[in-house]
Symmetry: C2
Subunit: 201 residues, 2 copies
DNA sequence: CAAACCACTTGACACCATGTCAATTGATAT
DNA sequence: ATATCAATTGACATGGTGTCAAGTGGTTTG
């Protein structure tokens, strides 16, 4: 399978990822990538028919390297709805930094680039399924605050966990990753969990 | 003052705004704008030295036309911290749709376009000052939940009110404007207001 | 009345990134 | 020996921004 993939192809994917993480996504030209790999610009087109296809492939590559699937399974050892909520927010808060550069690159071209949008939507659908799983666990425990319908709660939960919110809090406001995780856990529990008591500070 | 501004300049600004609102921000070329106004592409450059300057000027134009300043004052008739929170979220929730197209356009070029980024940052600083005002009113009333420091609360409040969150909830999840306002008010109260009791639904 | 000025026009062009095409090289497999 | 394959080189089309120079038509001013 993976031995089937050409070495150069992998080098291109790795270089693309690295440049995007470093360069805030934009400003990464095909020629930059080629130069980083040590091949000609045209050689990149031998492996990926255009910039979009390269970006989508990079998304999949990153998923694979980071082991998204495995990590998505891990947090499910939690049992109660509240524990699942905490574990999922923690998982996601730790995962975002690893994919942030690529996420930013995809978002930057989201409006103009259909395939990039598709790749991004796939990713977001995966997150949403984690949110659905969490809210359903709260419903199962009869712990979802009564003012929320299931579907609205999923929408809101998913929105709160957006990469943009993580970006605003950590990159713009200067929060640490743990601060993000703790505050987000606290906010979501106080909003969604019936009878949840905020801890006294 | 405003009589000083050339008619053509105003036409360009109005056309730019209208095209950006309509066209999701991207895809609006200098030639599109010129055509909409009924002048040559080069004539646009007689009024704005480049695309960026035009966008920044459009931002100011929209602020003026929408009366941002006046509307920011209005919601301050509210007295208690909780009332201010509600009024501010309502004001902002009603204001976003009017500036959404332009906001999207500015965000789309945020990474690559320094002046657009500056214009956007100015706007966001204004929102942030509304958030600060609100949280300070809660602090004054001794109503801020003890787990939050003032500064963290401001950061979080401001993040929650981002245009991106509004976009995800209304454009992606399909929420109505009122749904956004009510849920956001409820969320922020249950997070920030000490001893706030969620209503039984 | 003529000169200067003004907003605008026309057309050409440089720049830069993406993507295409054709001809060529050099190594490996048959 | 030869076919194949990855990669190279160089040229070129496209599309949008921004620049430049020369010209036009109407209004103001000496």
């Amino acid at each position: 399978m993976s031995s089937n993939e050409s070495e150069t192809r992998k080098k291109i994917l790795a270089a693309t990822w690295q440049l995007m993480e470093a360069g805030r996504g934009h400003e990464v030209r095909m020629s930059d990538i080629a130069e980083a790999v040590g091949i000609s610009r045209q050689a990149v087109y031998l492996h990926f028919s255009n910039r979009t296809e390269l970006m989508v492939a990079t998304t999949h590559y990153v998923d694979e390297v980071c082991g998204l699937d495995k990590r998505l399974l891990e947090y499910r050892s939690a049992t109660s709805g509240v524990e699942i909520l905490e574990a999922f927010v923690e998982f996601w808060g730790n995962y975002i930094p690893e994919i942030y550069g690529l996420a930013k690159a995809l978002l930057a071209v989201y409006e103009t680039d259909e395939a990039a949008a598709t790749a991004w939507n796939d990713r977001m659908a995966a997150v949403r399924s984690g949110c659905r799983n969490t809210i359903d666990a709260l419903v199962r425990d009869e712990k979802l605050a009564p003012e929320w319908s299931r579907d609205e709660a999923i929408d809101f939960f998913w929105t709160m966990l957006s990469v943009q919110n993580w970006e605003l809090l950590t990159k713009v406001c200067g929060w640490s990753g743990n601060q993000y995780i703790e505050r987000m856990q606290s906010l979501l529990k106080s909003s969604f969990v019936k009878g949840f008591q905020k801890k006294d500070g």
